[in-house]
């Protein structure tokens, strides 16, 4: 069972500190949600875990099963078992979705242990059908000309194909209509097992109607300020964030620019 441990994490971008001491532990089998108003550092946390080159970790640690994640390159983190479903996936012209996925799977499996083409196609067909994706999308260029909803579905397809130990879903619900949201949630729920932990970043409770988290954390001003169970998300939906601010004596301050 995998464990991702984040301790006293401080992260800066262009010299400005965004995360100011985040502590979090995600184990296989657990679904965590991080909620919070815009610009409080939620996306920064996901980018720092994956190793986005623009984000500088100034203090603290991230480990996966005791291994120092911060020492790893982005691709090594992925091969160690981390996955980030991105808010704004890149478009890559000339590289088909299928070729890309096969490269990613083979990168994990290593040389000499490549997945057979037949097995790959079978898995891909199966997962795409599960996510109600048009089979053509396997042969289209990676995310090129995909609608917002198609891109998000494609992120979940990658998640299901790559079977990571720990996944972070960065606002996977943004820009989705209710039908697409249900499909995305179905994909994530399908992954649920004791071997899979998930961190869901969102600022809407809506997604959590379809994916039930075991833990809910509220992030403000670059820190996790409150944690609880699914009922916390419901209260946030009903009452907003002001009661937490009042409870903790927090003044409004935006620490993160919207990407």
């Amino acid at each position: 069972m995998a464990t991702l441990t984040i301790k006293d994490l401080h992260v800066a971008i262009d010299g400005k500190e965004i995360l100011k001491g985040v502590n979090l532990e995600i184990k296989g089998g657990e679904f965590h949600a991080i909620m919070g108003p815009n610009g409080t550092g939620k996306s920064t946390l996901s980018a720092a875990i994956m190793g986005h080159p623009k984000y500088e970790v100034t203090k603290g640690s991230i480990t996966l099963d005791g291994q120092d994640v911060l020492e790893m390159e982005v691709d090594e983190r992925a091969r160690a078992g981390l996955f980030l479903a991105m808010q704004y996936p890149s478009e890559i012209s000339g590289v088909t979705n299928a070729d890309f996925l096969r490269s990613a799977i083979n990168a994990r499996r290593g040389e000499g242990n490549e997945i057979s083409l037949m097995k790959f196609i079978r898995q891909l067909d199966e997962k795409m059908a599960f996510l109600e994706m048009n089979p053509d999308m396997a042969h289209r260029y990676l995310n090129e000309g995909f609608s917002g909803g198609e891109k998000k579905r494609n992120e979940i397809l990658q998640l299901m194909m790559l079977q990571p130990k720990i996944a972070i879903l960065d606002e996977i619900d943004s820009g989705l209509d209710i039908d697409a949201l249900k499909v995305v949630a179905k994909g994530v729920n399908e992954m649920r097992s004791s071997d899979f932990g998930c961190l869901i970043i969102t600022h809407y409770q809506r997604l959590l109607n379809y994916i039930t988290p075991d833990y809910v954390h509220v992030m403000m001003q670059g820190r996790i300020v409150k944690s609880g169970g699914p009922e916390l998300a419901q209260r946030l939906e009903a009452e907003g964030y002001d009661w937490i601010k009042k409870e903790l004596g927090i003044e409004d301050e935006v620490v993160e620019q919207e990407a």
């Binding site: 994956m50 691709d75 992925a78 996955f83 980030l84 991105m86 890309f100 490269s103 990168a107 990658q158």
Partner: protein, 433 residues
Amino acid sequence: MIETKLPFDQQYVRSFSEGRGEPDWLLHVRLQALAQAEQLPLPKPDKTKIDRWNFTQFSTHLVESAPLSSLEELPEEVKVLIDIDEEQKNVYVQRDHTCAYVSLADELKEKGVIFTDLATAVREHSELVQKYFMDGVKVNEHRLAALHAALVNGGMFVYVPKHVQVNVPLQAVYVHEKAEALFNHVIIVADVGSKVTYVENYISTCERSEAIVNIIAEVFALDDAQVFFGAVDSLAKGTTTYVNRRGITGRHARIEWALGLMNDGNTISENVTRLIGDGSFGDTKTVVVSRGEQVQNFTTSVIHYGKHTEGYILKHGVVKDEATSIFNGIGKIEHGASKSNAEQESRVLMLSPKGRGDANPILLIDEDDVTAGHAASVGRVDPTQLYYLMSRGISKTEAERLIIHGFLAPVVNEIPIERVKKQLIEVIERKVK
């Protein structure tokens, strides 16, 4: 100082032409062209200075090669391009100047398709060749065109009769072995309402070869005809190449080009499509990889004369090491070519800080009622794309490889012969490594 006197005289050209049993008209063209070659200036590719390049000095005009008794005799790198087991092949193989093998399916022969080496064509179809030889590219355009006409010593002729649809690709492979100077001339005539796909390779059998290659390809798509022209050039380091591929369209004709220009030597490439007929269409896709210290210039023009003509230019170039690549894209709409559309996109991917890449989009418009557009960029591999691919476990090297292959895919995917496509991918792999 570069020697400007030409190494071959009237006497030589006359005896060469007579020795091949060429008709008088061709001897006449050769002699006139030779006289003009002495006077005419070199072409002036924009932003590349070529007056010190050697295009004209060589000591041997012709080397002899034996025809092949079987394609099995071909070197491995050439053999892989051809489906040897296919009985009804449409394949032409030329070793240096000499036709080594030619085969055309019976069905196409019966329909009157001509697919043969130029030397045979001028003997057997003299009038037809005369009509088109140096008609798309004029002898007096510059010294290299004139020299080419005077000294043509290789090439082939393709003619597709009216309303004949050739649904399988015709393939030509020009193998450079030991020729010091190859003047290769290709003519493709798609008569009214016909359709043809032609794919050529220029390939060297050695890694380095001091040679001059001067290529002219003339493509004529007559009214309502469609021509697809694919090419993969992979001539060796040390070979200086001038290649001019020119297309002329009739009414509602279409010419599409997919050019993978992968030479390792200095190269001047010109690809011009003249949209003469109303409603005609030209689409040019070019991909290039430059490496080492090679200097290359790729000028692509689509010139609109007819009304309602459409022209598209796409050029993607990768520049490595200390190579220099200049990409000039010219969309020109002449007065009277109303309702025409000229679009172009040039992108250069720089893999090394020491390389030089230039993308120069040019629109020349002499008519009001038209549409036109261009996009150009020169840049490095996008770090956000790299991050995205790496976040899926793909190593940086492999991620870059995927992005580069994706960048060159517009031509790779168009090549209609699977073996040639595979070879192009391998050449790209080798060049970007």
